[in-house]
């Protein structure tokens, strides 16, 4: 495999995750809820059918207005 290609892939992955890190917090909360749903589905689909004691958050997310919650440019104070 071409080393330069691998470095390019690594760089694009880093850029992708950096971009995700800059998402508005409200959007991140939505992502977390979706990840909870996915994880719980995986747990339920397992052969041993072990139930997850962890529940998906039952919170009102529709209150989020993206126009009012711009991501902050620098989070380090």
């Amino acid at each position: 495999m071409d080393k330069n290609y691998l470095l390019h892939v690594a760089d694009t992955k880093i850029a992708y995750h950096k971009k995700k890190a800059k998402m508005a917090y409200e959007e991140k909360v939505m992502v977390i809820i979706e990840l909870q749903k996915i994880k719980n589905e995986f747990i339920l689909s397992r052969k041993d059918k072990k139930k997850s004691s962890k529940k998906v958050w039952n919170i009102q997310t529709q209150l989020y207005n993206p126009n009012l919650n711009k991501p902050e440019p620098n989070r380090s104070q």
Partner: protein, 169 residues
């Protein structure tokens, strides 16, 4: 989450808690890409907690009086499990004192700063902390000098060098 934060801010208004800050996974995900978590950790300071054998009891009493169920150490506040934790050591106490004020879901709240979150992860040292701290170095915006000063002052330099090498010289 807005309603959860409103209720938590209500605890401050009612003087049940004096000061709080979002910590744990939900603080980490303010600075890095989120992954799965199921609870909201809050570091709290309660007046007179040093002289009280059960300093968190006013919070549990409030939950009981307001119909919020508890699951283990968590209180389910408006659909979200919240764990209230006392500032358990000097680093966490200082982190709480130097918390940042932010607005999320149009609600004023407080969060530990990136550098303190990182130092606490280094100090705690669980596998999740190690993995997420590595992501902080790549994804988060933080003040490296402040982070290095913190780990020096709280004797975490060796732990840092062992885990991540001496990349800061």
């Amino acid at each position: 989450m807005k309603k959860t934060l409103q209720k938590i801010n209500g605890l401050v208004e009612k003087k049940i808690i004096e000061k709080y800050a979002i910590a744990g996974g939900m603080a980490q995900f303010y600075y890095i890409e989120p992954s799965v978590t199921y609870d909201l950790d809050l570091i709290v300071h309660i007046s007179g907690e040093e002289n009280n054998l059960n300093p968190l009891s006013p919070i549990y009493n409030w939950a009981d009086e307001n119909g919020y169920k508890t699951e283990g150490e968590h209180i389910i506040i408006e659909g979200m499990p919240v764990q209230f934790l006392l500032a358990y050591n000097k680093l966490v106490q200082e982190a709480l004192q130097n918390r940042n004020e932010i607005t999320i879901f149009n609600e004023r709240t407080f969060i530990l700063s990136a550098e303190y979150v990182m130092a606490i992860m280094l100090q705690t040292g669980r596998m999740t902390d190690k993995e997420r701290l590595a992501r902080f170095f790549i994804e988060a915006e933080f003040n490296n000098d402040k982070f290095l000063e913190l780990i020096k002052r709280f004797s975490l330099e060796e732990t840092y060098k062992k885990a991540y090498g001496d990349k800061n010289g």
